[in-house]
């Protein structure tokens, strides 16, 4: 058995030694370089878009919306976003035109010689103002979606009413490798796209609809991180590169510079969350009323699904007999927000965990005792009426508490810190995270995996990409153990839509749990097929017979949704997720009361992963996600100018944690198996994003009394909160 051990990751050595070829390293013969002419206005009519006459255009191609052969739409959920602006721009950095040239420098120079005349329109930046405003960005009322859930029975006992508002800001995914895509013309007049991506089939569909024909295939290049930022956005680069390749009659590559990537691409949705609870005097939740507003930006992207996940997680891992939740995601004239690890759940649980601390303050209880009192147990029912079976809240809480009894080793601090200004604090937070798609998502997607016998080796064909999380390693482990052969004889093929089936997108903590589960079933099907064709025997015997017979052997397996899972997308009632992961985070930090700076000394996490398929990869996901969450908590702030354009568009001023900012991490993997996952595995990609920020806020409060209900808790905000005490 290789499952449960940690073999070296398949892509590890090439990445470590610099041999991996990322999209920007690939240089097809005759490749030209593409660049994008972008809006400098938040909301404007385009009077004219023309090429300056004082520039030599002879060696440059130029493309506008008029050159699009099919639909001028970035296909995703709603056809509202154009590939290139056609008469109107709704956000700063919106693509207006494209150029390509033999060198990047010439392409960038050409961009500066495209003249755009604007007629400015009133622009809206605040979702609370934009909702129902007369200036139209989307539909009748600038509302992408409103979701309402009501469940349970109202209380008739006297109770404390406790209200609070909690907010979160934009966050950039900050994959190490910026967005990059190459389009090449095929001999049949079609196009091959190769690039940095999470979801080849999203791009496949988007480019086909834009071109108006099906002669398209999409292949993933080695991808340097995604975190959701390469879920839907790469479709835009793919459409752009395709248009330029057609115009130039040669391959075209588009690679964003970091500053362009920061200004133009999607971010985490900012949220404003009002919570009001009725709580008994002994601390039990009786009613939860929640109102969520999210800023979707100028186009829909995946906003309605992000809102959905926010609303389904806002209750947190707590029992509440009555819930009344309403969420609204609103259009504004800012660059569209999109997928980001956690997908609405981190914002929602930041709010609920802060609210639990507010309740604790109000009723005079210890924050942890309050959580224990309300933490869900077997048989409790969620806001959607789903009955929870064997929830892991207490298991992760106990595992984290056990690990946190070890003394904290305090980190070395900067020179000049006297000592007396550093105040220690500890904070605890809990979270749950629905694994896989919401509701009937998997039933709609019907993700498929192919297995192909090649001699005595087995190829895994899927569209599930490796973006650092370990797909190239995990799938072969699952298949090898199911077939009873060494892992060295199983490998993933390239993720190319020309020959792999659609396994669904690489998102939503679903790759190992759902597609990995499909790999397991596919391997069982392969064994059955071999036995039917070649009699009894182990895999090696049967593979040898198949090879001798010379008949190709290929099976496809499609994910089947458990029939007992019921979901009504109209009422939002039923089984919201097939299973939930659980996490508890205990943060030990110090606050510098002179400056509001935070030193993270230790973060203990305990996470229910179902089954750690590869403990090293699982811990890697959790530790990386935890550090990303700490960045969201105290460092990462997007500063916008008057047009809604990101001003701190450099790694020197958009601050994410470095290795030196990272705390000691103690990572406890708790295994409560999910019978629907391979070997019991649950999704783990996103849950590490959920709890840390709230644990940090509680720790800051414990250290210095400053109460912060807005993210990010930058030193400036911590300082102001201390002054306001």
């Amino acid at each position: 058995m290789v499952i449960g051990t940690s073999p070296p990751r398949r892509d590890g050595m090439d990445k470590l030694t610099g041999r991996s070829l990322y999209s920007d390293d690939l240089r097809p013969d005759g490749v030209w370089y593409g660049a994008t002419v972008r809006s400098t206005r938040a909301h404007a009519r385009l009077r004219s878009v023309r090429r300056s006459e004082d520039f030599d255009w002879s060696n440059v191609v130029f493309v506008t919306a008029a050159d699009i052969p099919g639909l001028n739409v970035v296909s995703l959920m709603t056809d509202d976003q154009p590939v290139l602006a056609d008469g109107l721009v709704r956000h700063v950095t919106e693509p207006i035109a494209l150029v390509a040239a033999p060198t990047r420098e010439l392409a960038l120079e050409a961009v500066r010689h495209v003249l755009v005349e604007y007629e400015d329109l009133p622009a809206l930046f605040d979702p609370l103002v934009a909702e129902g405003h007369g200036v139209r960005i989307f539909g009748e009322d600038n509302v992408y979606k409103r979701i309402h859930i009501e469940h349970g029975t109202r209380t008739n006992t006297t109770a404390h009413l406790i209200r609070g508002r909690y907010t979160t800001g934009l966050q950039e995914q900050l994959y190490i490798e910026p967005q990059s895509m190459i389009a090449e013309l095929r001999p049949d007049g079609g196009i091959t796209l190769t690039g940095s991506m999470q979801c080849p089939y999203y791009i496949d569909r988007a480019v086909k609809r834009m071109l108006g024909h099906d002669r398209v295939n999409v292949a993933q290049a080695v991808t340097g991180g995604g975190f959701g930022g390469k879920e839907e956005y790469p479709s835009i680069l793919a459409c752009h590169a395709s248009l330029l390749a057609l115009a130039a009659g040669r391959p075209v590559k588009i690679t964003y510079r970091r500053d362009e990537d920061l200004r133009a691409t999607t971010k985490r949705h900012p949220a404003i969350i009002d919570l009001a609870t009725l709580v008994s005097s002994d601390g039990r939740l009786l009613e939860l009323h929640g109102r969520i507003w999210m800023d979707g930006g100028a186009y829909h992207t995946l906003s309605t699904v992000v809102l959905s996940r926010a609303i389904l997680h806002v209750q947190g891992p707590y029992r509440c007999p009555y819930v009344d939740l309403e969420g609204t995601v609103v259009a504004t004239n800012t660059p569209p927000n999109g997928a980001f690890r956690g997908f609405g759940a981190p914002q929602a649980q930041w709010a609920m965990e802060r609210h639990m601390d507010r309740i604790a303050r109000h009723v005079g209880m210890d924050p942890l005792a309050l959580r224990r009192l309300n933490l869900v147990v077997d048989g409790d029912v969620t806001a959607t009426g789903q009955t929870l079976r064997n929830p892991g809240g207490f298991a992760v809480l106990e595992a984290a508490e056990r690990a946190a009894t070890a003394p904290v080793k305090r980190k070395h601090v900067r020179p000049g810190v006297v000592g007396a200004e550093m105040r220690e604090g500890r904070g605890v937070a809990l979270a749950w995270h629905g694994c896989g798609f919401t509701g009937n998502g998997e039933a709609k997607i019907r993700g498929t995996v192919g297995l192909e016998l090649r001699g005595n080796q087995v190829a895994v064909l899927s569209s599930s990409t490796d973006i650092g999380q370990g797909t190239e390693t995990i799938f072969p482990m699952i298949v090898a153990d199911t077939l009873g052969i060494p892992m060295s004889r199983v490998f993933n093929t390239a993720h190319d839509t020309g020959f792999v089936p659609d396994s669904g997108p690489t998102v939503a903590s679903r790759t190992a749990m759902v597609v990995g589960g499909t790999c397991e079933k596919a391997a069982q099907r392969l064994l059955r097929a071999l036995r039917e064709a070649h009699g009894e025997g182990d895999f090696d015997t049967l593979a040898a017979r198949a090879a001798a017979a010379g008949t190709p052997m290929r099976v496809n397996e499609t994910y089947e949704v458990d029939a007992s899972v019921q979901w009504n997308p109209d009422t939002y009632q039923g089984d919201a997720y097939p299973c939930y992961g659980w996490s508890c985070v205990i943060v030990d930090l110090r606050v510098d009361v002179d400056t509001g700076e935070i030193i993270y000394d230790r973060v203990v996490t305990a996470t229910d992963v179902g089954k750690a398929l590869s403990p090293v990869l699982a811990a890697g996901q959790i530790e990386g996600g935890t550090l990303q969450a700490l960045g969201w908590a105290t460092q990462e702030e997007v500063v916008l100018d008057a047009q809604g354009c990101m001003r701190n568009d450099r790694l020197t001023n958009y601050i994410i944690p470095t290795a030196l900012d990272g705390p000691e991490m103690v990572t406890e993997l708790v295994e409560i198996p999910y019978e629907g996952g391979p070997f019991g595995a649950k999704g783990i990609g996103e849950i590490p994003m959920d709890a840390p920020a709230a644990a940090v806020a509680q720790a800051i409060e414990a250290a210095c009394g400053a109460v912060l209900d807005s993210l990010p808790m930058t030193p400036e905000r911590v300082f102001a909160a201390m002054e306001a005490r």
Partner: protein
């Protein structure tokens, strides 16, 4: 991705460097390159020619004279951290610059001549009453650190001059360095402070990132020397600094933190 076609000139002696500088006043001078490379990548610098002082002999030594130390302008932060007898205040500053890779290339002279108001080592020179030794084909002259930064990115240096060395007198007193950034490495100062105080005799309270140039709070210094209370000194510091709001922080935060740093230091000094 980074392309620069400008010819690069590498002097083999200090005299050759002066001659090159005199012949090419338009050239960009590169020491460690940790600022120049960023400017090139960002497209804000389009050099015609580059004089590369990295490896120019005679500029990377730490010497001792009667009454003080002389730091070669080409010494890197790592050199400072490795040298046995480099000044503790300078060591503290060098240790907070960028991260290891940056410290390996970043030079003392580069930090001084780049003259960013947020340069991490610059308040140290003010606190230590340093003199900058400038050289050119016409000869040498010395400029006190306190008069070198004339305005935002304006320095007292002629087009044919190069910074050769920094002279630091031997001084007694309490010393303190403190940098405030948002993270532990690769962080640009929001407030940076270097202080020196000989009780009843002399005080220097020098800041970076709170004004258009590195600056001293002279009124607060005078108050401190004359025995004013810590509250009075801190209040003067808060009045004297000239911070602005920018994408890194706010004026209010910088002003108050400047005061807090001074207060914490003075509060913790051993009572005379």
């Amino acid at each position: 991705m980074l392309r620069c076609e400008a010819p690069v000139f590498r002097p083999r002696t200090l005299d050759e460097a002066f001659a090159m500088r005199a012949a090419m006043p338009d050239a960009t001078v590169l020491a460690g390159g940790t600022d120049v490379m960023v400017y090139l990548e960002g497209g804000v610098l389009k050099p015609t020619r580059i004089i590369d002082l990295w490896g120019c002999p005679g500029m990377r030594e730490l010497r001792f004279t009667t009454g003080g130390q002389v730091y070669g302008a080409g010494l890197t932060c790592t050199d400072v951290l490795r040298a046995m007898h480099s000044h503790p205040l300078l060591r503290d500053a060098a240790a907070t610059v960028g991260a290891t890779q940056i410290q390996n290339r970043a030079t003392l002279g580069g930090n001084i001549c780049n003259s960013s108001p947020a340069g991490d080592t610059l308040p140290v020179w003010l606190a230590l009453r340093a003199e900058f030794e400038l050289g050119c084909v016409r000869g040498f002259r010395r400029v006190p650190a306190s008069g070198f930064w004339r305005g935002y990115k304006k320095i007292d240096m002629q087009p044919d001059e190069l910074l050769v060395a920094i002279r630091v007198p031997a001084l007694a007193g309490h010393m303190h360095f403190r940098k405030v950034g948002t993270r532990m490495a690769q962080s640009i100062s929001k407030v940076v402070f270097a202080g020196r105080y000989s009780v009843g005799k002399e005080a220097c309270l020098a800041f970076g990132a709170v004004g258009p140039t590195p600056m001293r709070c002279t009124a607060a210094e005078a108050a401190l020397v004359s025995g004013a209370s810590i509250n009075e000194v801190v209040s003067l510091v808060e009045q004297e600094v000239l911070p602005i709001d920018d994408i890194r922080s706010t004026a209010l935060y910088r002003r108050k933190v400047a005061g807090r740093i001074v207060r914490r230091w003075l509060d913790n000094l051993p009572r005379a």
